[in-house]
Symmetry: D2
Subunit: 310 residues, 4 copies
């Protein structure tokens, strides 16, 4: 399984597990890596926004990369977005040296015009080197940078080393359709599209042309099953599965509190030892935790994977 313009399936956005004292829980890093692979994920993305990357020291980031890359049998993508190109360059170099399959880059929030965005990625590619495969992250809801299809097309044309779009515009279904139409018309080269936003529209994105998902929902095994059902043209079954999970997917898709839900679910499933976050952390209140548990309980009636272990 390789990382390329034809990549399909589910790339898990990995959480970063901590112990209660705030130190990195490397045992849970291992079990989480194994869990993603056993769930059928075709890749793992680490040090993304949801991975609490800015809360890590540079040495810690490198330690996590080393741990995951040396253990995983699937391609590992490393988030290298940074406020300056110097940090981006050195982290990308470290990641590739340790065996990462590629890196992921999001636009810096200050970008305004189409040209500023295009130029930013030109500088980023110059910084990391044009031989380093990378993923373009399109995430306006958090980053406040809106990339028109024409901008994405220009970046893809300028940089053959960009192999994949992490799509998380919202609303975003038409964006997928239009990019695929441009490719079908021969106006745009091939690249993979994996969708984020917690999977909130994964019941329609594959039919629009997405190759799968790149997100951190606590049930990656459900995500891979869902993408498989679409690949097998089992539309109704796919929607049945999706609809069963949607209440939880929706609950998790809350900025800030979403990571707490995700870690809580992973802990309940026995994958990580603690749901601790480094500061600044937005933890679940008792009421919120009870709500999530109630959703899990309801989900378990339709999907045995949600049966609580603890």
């Amino acid at each position: 399984m390789t990382f390329g313009t034809k990549s399909k399936g589910v790339y898990a956005i990995a959480a970063t597990p901590f112990l209660e004292d705030g130190s990195i829980d490397f045992n849970s890093v291992d079990s989480l890596t194994d869990f993603y692979e056993q769930s059928g994920c075709t890749g793992i993305t680490i040090l993304g926004i949801m991975g609490e990357a800015p809360k890590l020291e540079p040495d810690e980031s490198r330690a996590i990369i080393k741990r995951v890359v040396s253990r995983a049998k699937v391609p590992v993508i490393v988030g290298v977005s940074a406020p300056g190109f110097a940090a981006m360059r050195s982290l990308a170099k470290s990641a590739m040296d340790m065996g990462a399959a590629g890196v992921m880059i999001a636009p810096t929030p200050a970008l305004k015009t189409d040209d500023q965005i295009v130029n930013y990625f030109a500088s980023a590619v110059e910084a990391i080197g044009d031989d380093v495969p990378w993923v373009l992250q399109d995430y306006p809801l958090t980053l406040n940078v809106v990339m028109a299809n024409s901008v994405i097309a220009k970046i893809m044309s300028n940089h053959p080393s960009c192999l994949m779009l992490k799509h998380e515009d919202w609303p975003g279904l038409e964006k997928i359709s239009k990019l695929r139409a441009m490719q079908a018309a021969g106006e745009l080269r091939e690249f993979s599209i994996l969708c984020g936003n917690g999977g909130m529209f994964l019941d329609f994105e594959p039919e629009r042309g997405a190759d799968g998902a790149m997100t951190g929902y606590g049930f990656p095994d459900m995500l891979t099953e869902l993408v498989g059902l679409f690949a097998a043209d089992k539309r109704d079954e796919a929607h049945d599965l999706f609809d069963a999970h949607l209440p939880l997917i929706r609950y998790e898709q809350q900025l800030g509190v979403g990571l707490a839900v995700r870690k809580h679910v992973l802990k309940r499933r026995g994958v990580i030892a603690s749901d601790a976050q480094r500061k600044p952390a937005q933890m679940l209140t008792p009421k919120a935790r009870a709500e999530v548990d109630y959703l899990l309980e309801r989900l378990a009636k339709k999907d045995a994977r949600a049966a609580l272990k603890a």
Copy 2:
């Protein structure tokens, strides 16, 4: 049924129906008003953000107010948010003169500090008059103004004429809990809380302390039923109903395209004659329309109200 600090149930955020040529479809205004009432709505809110208010001439706004107020038996709230206090004052005066129960005011997007927000509403109340009942709209996702609970509390303390909070922060469940806790502790006077955001969290908001919903989802009859189930402590039944609708609720909750979904559903349900919008309009593509229809079809298996008439 009156509009006050104890208001409960569902206030429908009314769409504004147009004919294909862009003129106001007053027959559909009537049928929509009737439909909201028959659906069990305890109030109707017109000229909100979703009501295409900025696309109307002042005379048209007044004509719609007159039409709805004179027909409806439930309280009618009129959105009067405006870039200046002069327009806000005159529209509020017109609305109250015609018999509206109150007005709704959102913060202007330029506000930054807590004090700026508090002062803005002081000026707004001075403009409309402190005898005019009003709803405070808290909608950060679109307006980019984040109101802390302490700010909401201060506005409520300063202005007894504010009777209701339209809550659509996201994430927002803890906000409801905290405001209700402040009231329980005697630190904050009573007011009604109705929730927006298309109903995306209406399966938990009532238990957190919300009095109901103020939103424009195409199945207001489902919203009133849902709020009723919570009032009757039928939690599981409420979730069953909610979960059946969530795929469509989620699809509708897309900025821009959401209004098109809403008008499409209302048209399919035979409530309005046309799904036309005034420019700038974001219409459904054929693919999107087919997706909505597929969701309606699936929903109809669980809720007969979704059976397509057309």
Copy 3:
């Protein structure tokens, strides 16, 4: 003197004079109009952001347009920026019917991508009619919409009825040079460029290719003299004059408080009866007023026009 793609000189951004009770001071509207003409202004722009336009009722806006248009012998431009195209259309129609030379339109703050900006102005032109001459306002500091030169070029190409750019990007000198270079290379049609930002860079803008200024600095007579000195190639004299005024220009160029400075200066010069503003108003504190008066006093040693009358 007409309004067109070859317009030169100074278009005054007119303040809106109020009496102490908040009503419009039409006598001062007259004297202000006369003052701008006597100062050598080649045009007057009313109802701009600095003209407190959002604080006016629609009828008041129309009364001001009528008053100024019927009195002025120079072209009058009317700001018609509005949150919706309906209000823009009707105000533009009223203005043109009363004899305005054209209208001015700024982008709505929500615009993000290049295409969104281009499309916004296409809709605006459709709303006001493609026979109405207009000025494109480029004001990122306040409106948060950054227009690349390619975007301005596209708008100008799409809409022959756009005759002028009100330039107030900051930094903005290169923007003027590049637009003029595009025109020199035959890639872009002719249009007038008048600069805003309170005149803060008017010592270099004419040499970069600007045709003059459109701003509301309290000494329009100095602005016209300055533009004249540049036209006569008297560079050093122009800078001497500019540098004498820069401390005051700089003081006036403070968001919010700038209008108070401007009205204070106009009142001290005997042009308007009162420096009252409608709410929300940011008035000068006694300390600030003393600072402005001190700057006027210092300026008066170099420019007799600054000698205080009061």
Copy 4:
């Protein structure tokens, strides 16, 4: 001379000198450090926004801190703003270990409500340790975070280790007056206020209560002279000096291009060897360079320090 709540004078915001090949020019770091001291600066701030800090590798940042701290006889403040508290903690620790007098922290741009800002600085102080002296940077123009006086007061009350406010709100004169009034009334403890924004209002800030300036204008010797004139109550002389420099101060106060002006001036004055910037760099065009040189030429007639050496 120490860094404390009574600090006065001018803290230079240091540029970071590079050689043409992009490597750090440590000889120029030395000469720049000497120059700031010889100019009468009472402190030096390194690795600020204008110091191209995000373009440096962590090791490079530490090398610069070491070089400046070991050479300077005045207190050195180190900018440690970072997207995460881990990086902030480790950089602050390194800086203090090497002998820095303190650190400077700006709010992260995502902060919205008053409480979010207050809490952010609580977390920052927890990260760096409450024994590390620090400067609070208030810079809304670039960071988009507006701090009310009540917020600044709360941060100062919460954290005795905050010794100084870097004030660069705009408009900002009233802010200084109000903070000083709160202190005079005994509502707020003592702290130093040094003003930024390139010195654009340094002709009035000392009289409002500022203790001096913290900015990187290419003539720090003029800034110290100016602050000295105010301390000696020579108001008119102070304004004469300020006004002579204002055209250049104003030109330098352009976001993005300002750093290029600053480095150009420092190079012309013989202080640094090259005006090279690391990417992304906004360099002076030939026209802009000629404009700056013309302003220097004009300035030299009034202030011999501006006479060009090259």
